[in-house]
């Protein structure tokens, strides 16, 4: 057995180290380490509860709005305030804009550049992919960043700026929308849709969203000429490299549900492991056995604590290991689409589980499905009607805020005592996906996904990169 350590792992958000134990040319086990600790959960203690809205976005620059939304929800649960319809629609638009911007950043800047590496020089698609996607040089980044900028004009209008807005409040949003601004929002979305249909999909969004299974996806790809859309370039490389065979984890998928009223979200809430099950938030436990944190029994986040123990024997990361009723679960766009029952996502997972192909297709599917929905939300905004309700937060209160960030389920657990924050725990998407082993020795999703990969130079070395980045990890959220 031989160990190789890979780091710094770039084109992920934050710092990541992966250790692989290799035997007979195959990865036998993996350890995933988050080597950066900042202590946000301690920083929040003793603060005025609404200060969380200024502090938690700064947990993460790429999931900033999702962090805001989770805090706003936890505060709303604690005060009982209900957002008016306008506030909910504006919040959903802001969250969706971040979500889609993140998917675009992932595809164009983080994930696709690996296919442009020299290791693939002999593949038939390589020259075109290199010209289009090579890191910092390819032609695609400029187009994608311009489209992202147009999408994020929604942030300028609805949230002041991105990242790090204070616009998302427990009772709605601080920025009302006027009649003419609905038109500006519509125009920004039209411009973004035009990029997606012309450049990413080379097809109408509705056409891609209507694909009802793997056979339909393959037929769609084969029917498209070379160069017709960047999604096709990925699908061709993925088919050639057989990426659906790599990166499988536990195939239990969690989603807290996204958009629309919390009690009846547009994307359904639940756990899917071959069948759809109820998601019971009370069944979450965070295990610290392999983290540089003071040893403790697995705790529900509402009772959780974060106390560093940098010299702890046997620990290898700052990341806790969240488990749902003792199970290792995977979160993200694929999980959301699978839990929601989209036929393509369900079929991908039925055939080969969560893997490099299905995770990336899950994101593309989400992009294609969410933009038309955003157009409807803009239509539904009612200028002149309220955007924000206010309510007093009691001095003794608690609340949970569960949202879906781009990368998956994000939870904030807030406890207020004596009018200040007494407890604050965050479980972020990559905390689930890149968790270490728990006390039972069960590896986290990425640790499972890396096992069985071939080891070596050239294409094998790049395959590890594909598997890691297929999760679109956000390491700054992970440990916070």
């Amino acid at each position: 057995m031989r160990r190789i350590t890979i780091g710094p792992f770039n084109r992920v958000e934050g710092d990541l180290e992966v250790a692989l134990d290799i035997e007979a040319g195959v990865v036998r086990s993996a350890q995933v380490s988050s080597p950066l600790f900042r202590g946000f959960e301690q920083i929040l203690l003793g603060k005025a509860p609404l200060d969380a809205l200024a502090i938690v976005p700064r947990v993460c620059g790429i999931c900033s709005v999702a962090q805001s939304a989770a805090a706003a929800r936890a505060l709303a649960a604690a005060s009982g305030v209900r957002s008016p319809e306008n506030g909910r629609l504006a919040t959903d638009l802001v969250r969706a804009a971040e979500n889609l911007a993140d998917h675009l950043t992932h595809f164009y800047l983080f994930f696709m550049p690996d296919f442009a590496r020299p290791a693939y020089a002999r593949r038939r698609w390589h020259a075109a992919v290199e010209a289009r996607f090579q890191a910092t040089r390819g032609t695609a980044a400029a187009e994608a960043l311009s489209a992202r900028g147009q999408l994020l004009e929604l942030m300028g209008l609805l949230a002041g700026k991105w990242p790090h807005t204070l616009a998302l409040q427990p009772g709605g949003t601080s920025r009302s929308v006027q009649r003419q601004e609905k038109i500006q929002l519509t125009m920004a979305l039209r411009g973004f849709r035009a990029f997606l249909e012309r450049t990413l999909f080379g097809a109408a969004l509705e056409e891609f969203a209507a694909l009802d299974g793997v056979a339909a996806l393959e037929a769609w790809r084969e029917a498209r000429p070379t160069g017709a859309g960047d999604a096709r370039a990925f699908l061709e490389a993925a088919a050639d490299l057989d990426l659906e065979r790599f990166g499988r984890a536990s195939d239990a998928f969690l989603s807290a549900g996204a958009y629309g009223p919390e009690e009846a979200p547009w994307l359904a809430r639940g756990v899917f492991d071959g069948a759809l099950r109820h998601f019971d938030e009370a069944a979450i436990r965070e295990d610290v056995s392999h983290a540089w944190l003071v040893n403790d029994a697995p705790r529900h986040p509402a009772q959780g604590a974060t106390r560093p123990d940098p010299d702890k024997a046997g620990a290898y990361t700052w990341c806790k290991a969240p488990r749902l009723a003792g199970r290792v679960v995977e979160v993200g766009a694929l999980a959301r689409q699978v839990v929601d029952g989209h036929p393509l996502a369900r079929d991908l997972v039925a055939r080969s589980g969560g893997n490099v192909l299905s995770r990336v297709v899950g994101r593309l599917l989400e992009v294609a499905r969410v933009v038309p929905e955003m157009e409807r939300w803009v239509d539904a905004l009612a200028p002149g009607e309220p955007f924000c309700a206010t309510d007093e937060l009691p001095d003794e209160a608690s609340g949970v805020g569960l949202v879906e960030a781009a990368r998956g389920t994000l939870g904030h657990w807030l406890e207020v005592r004596g009018g200040v924050i007494h407890g604050y725990q965050i479980v972020a998407p990559t905390t689930w996906n890149f968790s270490p082993r728990d006390a039972e020795g069960r590896p986290g999703p990425l640790e499972q996904a890396l096992v069985g990969l071939p080891s070596g130079d050239g294409e094998a070395a790049v395959l590890v990169q594909h598997v890691v980045r297929s999760f679109d990890p956000c390491m700054v959220c992970t440990v916070h």
Partner: protein, 342 residues
């Protein structure tokens, strides 16, 4: 006149590292108005040696880039650090070990700063400690050359680069993309000197403005017609914690993500370009007052005059301004003057 930099003759090699921060400065950079920030930097004469979110090199390839820089085999004209320096626990720096090296990032930053032509702190965390140093500062975070308002930090108050410049603090949480792009472009052009920095080491290109300048709520400010709750249209200074009249930045003349700014988004400026903004000593969204007067008055404004003018303008507030201030849309439109000319 700005003295020309000695490094004007060649392209600017920029090495960008991240430590105790959220990565939001890079996300903001990608919101550059031109869309194609990579192309914009390239055309400004900037070459990225390595950037953790953008470069191809990962793992051993990335380590080789960093080692070549640290050993002087690759010329580093500018070292950009995003995120605070984490000195804890107990001065070891182990709250951030650079992946793949087993060595604290703090040590890498010190070594690379000694090799770099200039050192640029990207964002308030790298400049002064920022949000990462809030609360009881669990990671012993500091800025490159400041700890809050106190000079020092990792490199020490007396540190200067070969051109005599201190650390350039492109503060902001996050900084506006143009603040970062223009600072690097000015360095690449050799058009940046000590006179271009304010007393806190921030480029004067944005720090000589106040966030208040260009605020569309200015009429409400003039009449002290104040918002009372989120989404109200009125001035955010009296009740909602807004520090735009004291905060340095051109946020309301340059605008964010097309047409935005914090105040345009309906929430307070929290003075994120300043040291210690993360610990204001009061709730962020509530204005602390004594006897009904905000404790923090507009910068450079004598208190007696502020009080006198505020009382006068409050009593002169037009009904339109007063009523719109506490509504979330215009309920009383401006009157129309009849000119009588035709």
């Amino acid at each position: 006149m700005t003295p020309p930099s000695a490094r004007a003759a060649h392209r600017l090699n920029v090495l960008w590292l991240q430590s105790g921060g959220c990565g939001g400065c890079t996300m903001s950079l990608l919101c550059c108005r031109t869309g194609d920030v990579l192309g914009t930097l390239r055309e400004a004469g900037v070459d990225l040696l390595w950037h953790p979110a953008l470069s191809e090199e990962s793992g051993p390839e990335a380590l080789e880039v960093l080692r070549a820089c640290a050993e002087g085999r690759t010329r580093v004209d500018v070292l950009c650090l995003e995120g605070a320096v984490l000195r804890g626990p107990n001065g070891t720096g182990r709250f951030h070990v650079l992946a793949g090296t087993g060595e604290p990032m703090m040590a890498w930053v010190s070594r690379l700063a000694a090799r770099a032509g200039h050192v640029v702190a990207i964002g308030t965390c790298a400049a002064y400690g920022g949000m990462t140093s809030a609360g009881d500062n669990p990671t012993d975070a500091c800025g490159l050359q400041y700890e809050g308002e106190t000079p020092g930090g990792l490199l020490g108050a007396g540190w200067r680069d070969a051109d005599g410049l201190p650390v350039v603090n492109v503060a902001g949480c996050p900084p506006h993309p143009a603040w970062m792009v223009e600072t690097l472009a000015a360095l690449a052009a050799g058009a940046f000197g000590a006179a271009d920095l304010d007393p806190l080491g921030r480029p004067r290109s944005f720090a000589d403005e106040l966030v208040h300048h260009g605020c569309p709520r200015n009429e409400y400010y003039e009449f002290k017609a104040s918002a009372g709750r989120p989404s109200d249209l009125g001035c955010l200074m009296e009740n909602m914690g807004c520090k735009a009249t004291q905060a340095h930045g051109d946020c309301n003349t340059r605008l964010w993500n097309g047409s935005g700014s914090c105040l345009r988004g309906g929430f307070a400026c929290i003075d994120c370009t300043a040291p210690s903004f993360e610990e204001p000593g009061h709730a962020f969204a509530v204005t602390p007052k004594i006897a009904g007067i905000p404790m923090a008055l507009p910068i450079d404004m004598p208190k007696a005059w502020f009080v006198a003018l505020a009382a006068l303008s409050k009593s002169a507030t037009p009904r339109r301004v007063r009523e719109n201030a506490t509504a979330d849309h215009v309920v009383v439109p401006p009157g129309i003057r009849v000119s009588g000319r035709k």
